[in-house]
């Protein structure tokens, strides 16, 4: 096949800022952050008691997420405590995935390399988010339960059976990082490759259902990342009954 598009797992480097390489996925991640900040600033500036259209959408979103969190955590107060982290993760991944579907991502080229690339299609982005999420889960556990109970989950000095359970718990924390990052990376990168190949084979009309699929997958993966983080936080801060 001639002209088959170049696909690389590694995100291509665009330029360096003081010896730190900036890749095309980093660039789109920054754009996504700027879009989120602008949205937040606009909403904050034009906040009203009777909401306009944009504010209504976000109020609806916040209410839905809080209801879901309340059903997992039990109390509204606890849900409000962990709401910012989880919603930030959700919105960041959502905007990154959806911005990565714009037609400008791909054709615009700088030094022979695409200028923009979906951030979640870069393993660095997903591993970083996974580390942040798992670290946040353990940090919240320490803050809520105290450091003695937190270490007591992993190290059982007198009980031989529970010692191996504790060791498995430690390993499972690292497995969570791998599982979070590869789930998001696999879904988004595979979707990108699929869109490239389908667009190369039949450029007219046929990519449409695949684009719909990618919009859906982008939303679902952001939702699953945030929800799994929430479920792990709920499990880690739950007071064990004595």
């Amino acid at each position: 096949m001639t002209g088959i598009p170049e696909i690389s797992i590694k995100a291509e480097k665009l330029f360096e800022i003081w010896h730190i390489p900036v890749t095309n996925s980093m660039l789109l991640a920054f754009v996504s952050v700027v879009v989120l900040l602008l949205l937040a600033w606009y909403l904050n500036r034009h906040i009203k008691l009777i909401p306009g259209k944009v504010q209504s959408i976000f109020e609806l979103l916040i209410e839905q997420i809080l209801q879901l969190m309340e059903s997992v955590f039990g109390e509204r107060e606890i849900a409000l405590r962990y709401f910012p982290v989880i919603t930030t993760v959700f919105l960041f991944i959502l905007f990154s995935n959806w911005l990565g579907l714009l037609p400008i991502v791909g054709p615009v080229v700088l030094h022979g390399v695409p200028l923009l690339r979906g951030p979640a299609a870069d393993l660095n982005f997903t591993i970083a988010l996974a580390i942040v999420a798992v670290f946040a889960v353990n940090l919240f556990s320490v803050l809520a339960l105290g450091i003695r109970k937190f270490i007591g989950r992993f190290i059982h000095p007198k009980d031989p059976i529970m010692t191996s359970v504790g060791m498995l718990e430690i390993v499972s924390e690292f497995v969570k990082i791998v599982s979070f990052s590869f789930r998001l990376f696999g879904n988004v990168f595979a979707g990108e490759v699929l869109l490239l190949i389908v667009g190369f084979l039949v450029p007219l009309f046929v990519p449409l259902p695949f684009l719909f699929l990618e919009v859906f997958v982008g939303f679902i993966q952001a939702f699953i990342f945030a929800m799994l983080t929430m479920v792990f936080i709920a499990g880690a801060v739950a007071e064990t009954e004595h």
């Binding site: 879901l68 997992v72 696999g186 699953i224 799994l228």
Partner: protein, 82 residues
């Protein structure tokens, strides 16, 4: 009779490996997701009030089962592109 005519070259084996990893790797997750879906739909049918709780748990379980299939996909992609 040399042995060369009975061996495949590295490129062909690599292509076969890429296809085989995916083909075999998605059997179990597919069955698992089907099971999860059928049980949860049954549960919703038996108790429509608990519908949203069952749905949330179902989405969570499907995500875990699908992650295993995604691991296979990542292995295939690495074999193909690296």
């Amino acid at each position: 009779m040399s042995n060369d005519q009975y061996s495949m070259d590295a490129e062909s084996v690599k292509s076969l490996a890429i296809a085989a990893v995916m083909a075999i790797g998605v059997i179990a997750p597919a069955i698992a997701i089907g099971w999860i879906g059928s049980r949860s739909v049954e549960a919703i049918g038996r108790n429509p009030e608990a519908g949203s709780k069952v749905q949330t748990a179902m989405i969570l379980c499907v995500a875990f089962a699908e992650a295993v299939a995604i691991y296979c996909l990542v292995i295939s992609l690495i074999l193909k592109f690296v």
